[in-house]
């Protein structure tokens, strides 16, 4: 059973004929070739598959592709604009806030979602906002530092 699904992906319109019950994660990774969105646990526990849906960080392993109809999806590949990194990406790099890098796309997008909701979070608010994302290498301290730096950078309104 195929459905015609149309949505905006990384600022470009997308039209797909797919089974609308398929999960967004797999449609992104296979049909659309965007492998920056990672599979980590498949049950919403780890956050590796996080994408932005209308600016809100969601887990693509729990979303059916038909649920993004007419909405706007941003994956890690769509975050940098014209080769210019998003301040959160830049801050992750400058703080070395990653090791193996597998959880990183989900961490970055969760942080972007967090800063959209609350542009001037306290350290405690960052920790609470990131709490449901898992990192096995132990980059947590640096990730919090990076998000604080990015929040400072973004105050200009970017």
């Amino acid at each position: 059973m195929t459905d015609a699904i149309a949505f905006k992906l990384n600022n470009k319109p997308v039209r797909l004929n797919v089974d609308g019950d398929r999960l967004l994660l797999w449609v992104l990774r296979t049909d659309l070739g965007l492998t920056g969105t990672k599979f980590g646990c498949g049950e919403g526990h780890c956050g590796s598959c996080t994408v932005l849906l209308n600016g809100v960080a969601v887990r693509s392993c729990l979303r059916k592709v038909k649920d993004v109809q007419d909405k706007e999806v941003v994956t890690i590949e769509g975050l940098a604009k014209e080769g210019r990194l998003h301040p959160v990406q830049q801050a992750f790099m400058e703080h070395d806030a990653l090791q193996c890098g597998f959880c990183t796309p989900g961490m970055v997008l969760t942080a972007v979602g967090l800063l959209t909701k609350n542009p001037t979070p306290t350290r405690e608010q960052i920790i609470r906002g990131m709490e449901q994302n898992l990192c096995r290498c132990g980059a947590h301290t640096r990730i919090v530092d990076a998000i604080q730096t990015a929040a400072g950078e973004m105050k200009g309104g970017r």
């Binding site: 780890c46 990406q89 070395d96 193996c100 920790i127 132990g138």
Partner: protein, 720 residues
């Protein structure tokens, strides 16, 4: 060598380097300067050779290999892999230093069996301390060749020449110069390093020792970095495999008919392996759910409660890994004797990337991209499984999404290869989280018994240590105890009669987490028995200057003030050694006695790892050790019953989270004169004991089993 052999090796304090003869690939590389180094020709190689004695290693050829291309670019080739621990940066840094060339002209090719020299695997914190010297030697030799070429080209004696930033010039006339590219142009020079090279004086280092950001950072924050599961080949299929419900279960019958009717699904049955394949992974998973299978379940065996009695039953013979003095004499001198048993549970690796592989098997060759810590081991496993000679199997290692010892067994790569051979198309296998938990080679459950004593002055007079199943790494104590014996009994392979109910293997600093938990807990108990401050007690009983130095450095940074434990402050201390590195940690923790929960507030960790190549990388690894260590100390424990692994995702198996992470302060000891040692594992070994000691200091309750869950903490407080 089988996987079992080299995994077993990792439980020991040993070197593991086995060169192999493989030269054909040179021809494909074009012109330039090529340097080969065989570790057997170097001092460090002699040690490797001793360890190798009696083992089936490959014939000696070379371990390190580098090329200076005709464009002057430097390429280092290594069988080591990048899984987050940072060699993609630190190895390039070492090459740039020794070769006097800008870092951005240096590239590392890693973990490709066709292009890189044979390597046993990336584990045991071996990359810098074992492979590093070979790489430096290759660079030094390359520089010698460049100097010879420059002397000839410029018609000046070598001693007048200066190398800097990829250029060699005449020190008296700087216009007389040649770039490395100019020197390598049109050459095809091949050198095999003989004897020990003259390395650059550490005092002249300008690149090594400087903190450098990760070179893979940009690719990893943009989603460009590719892992094995991200790779695509034309016409590829995704496979999902039928799994047994329990270890030891046998497939009785299987009905694949309902699946065969589904569009686009292919079913492969090959012995016990039943797989469904589809052009989309989620559709393959859906199809798998439709397969009807019956299994014969194994007889009830053990669970996570009965496991320790079960392991004790096997009672395997141990061997003395360290011994000195006379235990009976020591006992006579003791005024207080402490006997204690420490338990540790099975722990999962739980890397965020599950085991993944893409295999493309053709008529007479195969290419497999795999998430693996030992591509050359994978090559052998795959070759055997699909009936090709090893040299026809190429294993390529893209970025690996965390390993921690868990990616040394390459079952998923073998599965992908077998399926690709069967369907004649490229096949990708990416394990689900449940498969990852089920097939993980867990850190083994273990039991440590210690009997030790102090005299009236607070000196330890005897130490009798027996470890079962953890492994011997880190078992030998390092205090100045005149009468001591350390017995290590096998790490315990899977099997009946007291063996583990599933596979076990190396987990970040294998053996040492358990051994250090037991030893440093016992030391604290003795300090309390002696009525002494735990730092003072350790210093009184230590004689190794490097251990004393890290402990004093940690105490100084922490602002330690002496007090007998329990002081109610919640301070804990522990020290240890791993992978040639000395570490000491002091922490402050809060305990909620009602809930049984612990919040570690501050960790100070001092580390002496010899010469530090990349202080930034070393610090990140240390922070990672502290953070990951919170998990095995406080929550991580695999639950199981009768061959079933009851944890299959992160809802029940709890990894450390942001809110758990303390303020982490690191002190890297300046030890430039000592060779570089391991950094990816040492600091994690302290986390069990240092938290147990802090809990005792806060509450007076002594925890003897890891992880220190709320239930166990509450029980210990009740008892105290």
């Amino acid at each position: 060598m089988t996987t079992e052999d080299y995994v077993a090796l990792d439980f020991k304090d040993s070197m593991e380097l086995f060169p192999q003869n493989r030269r054909e690939f040179l021809r494909r590389l074009g012109g330039g300067i090529f340097i080969f180094v065989t570790l057997g020709e170097l001092a460090i190689g002699q040690e490797a050779g001793r360890q190798r004695g009696g083992r089936q290693g490959g014939p000696a050829d070379f371990n390190a290999f580098l090329r200076i291309g005709e464009d002057g670019r430097v390429t280092g080739f290594t069988g080591k892999i990048e899984m987050g621990q940072g060699p993609i940066t630190s190895l390039a840094q070492m090459l740039a230093e020794e070769l006097d060339t800008p870092l951005d002209t240096v590239e590392m090719i890693m973990g490709d069996t066709e292009r890189c020299p044979w390597d046993m695997g990336t584990f045991g914190s071996m990359t810098t301390r074992s492979f590093g010297p070979a790489l430096l030697a290759a660079a030094a030799e390359a520089k010698t060749v460049l100097m010879e070429l420059a002397a000839e080209a410029l018609q000046v004696p070598q001693e007048w020449l200066v190398a800097k930033d990829g250029v060699i010039f005449d020190g008296r006339n700087k216009d007389q110069r040649r770039t490395y590219g100019q020197l390598a142009k049109g050459q095809k020079i091949e050198r095999h390093l003989q004897g020990k090279p003259t390395l650059k004086d550490v005092a002249k280092f300008t690149v090594v020792g400087k903190p450098l950001l990760r070179r893979d950072g940009r690719d990893k924050v943009t989603g460009k970095a590719q892992y094995a599961g991200d790779l695509r080949e034309p016409d590829m299929l995704y496979a999902k495999l039928l799994r047994p419900p329990a270890h030891g279960a046998k497939l009785k019958n299987v009905d694949t008919a309902p699946v065969k009717a589904m569009a686009g699904v292919q079913v492969i049955q090959d012995g016990d392996m039943v797989a469904v394949l589809h052009e989309f992974p989620d559709m393959a998973e859906k199809a798998l759910e439709k397969i009807k299978a019956e299994f014969d379940l194994p007889d009830p065996t053990v669970d996570d409660k009965t496991i320790f009695d079960h392991l004790l039953k096997a009672d395997p013979q141990g061997r003395a890994v360290a011994e000195g003095g006379d235990l009976a004499e020591g006992r006579k001198l003791a005024s207080k004797i402490i006997e204690q048993t420490y338990l540790n549970s099975y722990v999962a690796h739980a890397a965020m990337e599950t085991h993944s592989a893409l295999a493309k098997v053709e008529a007479d060759k195969a290419t497999i991209w795999a998430s693996t810590q030992n591509p050359f081991g994978a090559q052998g496993e795959i070759a055997g499984a699909i009936g090709l000679p090893a040299q026809k199997v190429r294993v390529i290692t893209p970025f690996v999404g965390g390993g921690f010892g868990g990616k040394t067994r390459n079952t998923q790569a073998v599965e992908a290869a077998r399926l690709s051979k069967a369907v004649g198309k490229p096949v990708q296998v990416v394990w689900s989280r449940a498969e990852e938990f089920f097939y993980d080679t867990f850190r083994p459950a273990a039991i440590v018994k210690i009997n030790s004593g102090i005299d009236g002055s607070g000196k330890m007079v005897f130490w009798d240590y027996d470890v079962l199943c953890a492994g011997e790494r880190g078992a030998a104590q390092f205090y100045a105890i005149p009468n001591h014996r350390t017995t290590a009994r096998p790490s315990g392979r899977q099997g009946a009669g007291g063996g583990h109910p599933f596979a076990t293997g190396a987990w970040r600093a294998p053996g040492n987490n358990t051994n250090t938990f037991a030893r440093e807990s016992q030391i604290d108990i003795m300090a309390a028995a002696a009525g002494m401050d735990p730092v003072e007690f350790r210093l009184k009983n230590l004689s190794d200057p490097r251990m004393i130095r890290v402990l004093e450095a940690a105490a100084e940074r922490f602002g330690w003030t002496p007090a007998k434990s329990p002081s109610k402050r919640g301070y804990g201390v522990a020290c240890g050694a791993d992978a040639g590195t000395y570490v000491a940690s002091i922490i402050e923790a809060d305990v909620d006695a009602n809930k049984g929960t612990v919040q570690v507030k501050r960790v100070v960790c001092a580390q002496d790892m010899g010469l530090v190549i990349n202080p930034e990388g070393a610090q990140i690894q240390l922070e990672g050790c502290v953070t990951m260590g919170l998990g095995y100390a406080l929550t991580e424990e695999v639950h199981f019953k009768d061959g079933k692994v009851l944890d299959n995702n992160f809802d029940t198996y709890e990894l450390p989270r942001f809110s758990w992470v303390p303020k982490i302060e690191t002190v890297l000891i300046d030890a430039k004169d000592s060779p570089p040692q391991g950094g990816g594992e040492p600091a994690i070994i302290l986390m069990g004991a240092v938290i147990a000691n802090a809990i005792y200091d806060r509450t007076g309750a002594r925890l003897l089993q890891l992880p220190m869950t709320p239930e166990r903490i509450q029980a210990a407080i009740q008892k105290a």
